[in-house]
């Protein structure tokens, strides 16, 4: 059973590359273009992992993660926050919101795959 990952980023190219990398590793991908859009994807379907950018229009990653963690179907779902090295504070804020994992931008697809496989059993 392929595991499903929700990828939330306002950058189409980031979504595209992350999706390509994760799909090639056998995961199913759902994409969200910002926090607001991503929340509509949390409609009860099984999602094993959420990867979310911090800086996004409409609803930022922190608010999105907080909202997602309120939903019973996703309260234990691991979240990877995409931060930058200049965003140590964001990382902590994200952790407080429930995103206990992070990947620092800029990253390469292999780094994302590594982070994902720490959080999802094959």
């Amino acid at each position: 059973m392929a595991k499903t990952i929700l990828v939330v980023d306002d950058s189409a190219s980031v979504r595209q590359v992350v999706s390509i990398a994760l799909k090639s590793a056998g995961y199913d991908i759902i994409e969200g273009v910002d926090g607001k859009d991503a929340l509509t994807k949390l409609n009860g379907q099984k999602i094993h992992l959420i990867i979310s950018d911090v800086n996004m229009p409409n609803m930022d990653g922190i608010a999105f993660v907080k909202a997602a963690k309120q939903l019973p179907a996703y309260k234990f779902t691991p979240v990877i926050m995409l931060t930058t090295e200049s965003q140590e504070a964001k990382k902590l804020e994200g952790q407080a919101a429930g995103a206990k994992a992070w990947v620092v931008k800029p990253f390469q697809p292999a780094q994302m795959l590594a982070a994902v496989s720490k959080l999802i059993l094959p």
């Binding site: 059973m1 179907a73 234990f76 059993l121 094959p122």
Partner: protein, 90 residues
């Protein structure tokens, strides 16, 4: 002999509910069998629950066996080196 079929996932999301289910099942008889063939996902929380069931049954002096492990279950047991504890043969 009592048999319990567990279906679907055994994860953090189902752990609370399944703990009650398992304890009730263990209380329901003496020779017990839990069929794991329909478990399609197992995580550490689920694994921990299987261990708890095994220990709890032992303390209550009941016979509990896990049978028909699905591939998802076997993979995780192998990883945790728990196959001898929770595997098919007692």
């Amino acid at each position: 002999m009592q048999t319990l079929n567990i279906e679907g996932e055994m994860t953090i999301y189902t752990a609370a509910e399944q703990k009650n289910l398992l304890l009730a099942f263990i209380a329901s008889g003496h020779t017990l069998e839990i069929n794991l063939s329909q478990v399609n996902e197992l995580d550490t929380a689920g694994t921990q629950l299987l261990i708890l069931a095994k220990q709890h049954a032992a303390k209550a002096q009941k016979q509990l066996r896990f049978v028909m492990h699905s591939k998802a279950v076997l993979d995780v047991l192998a990883l945790a080196n728990l196959t001898s504890l929770l595997g098919h043969s007692d």
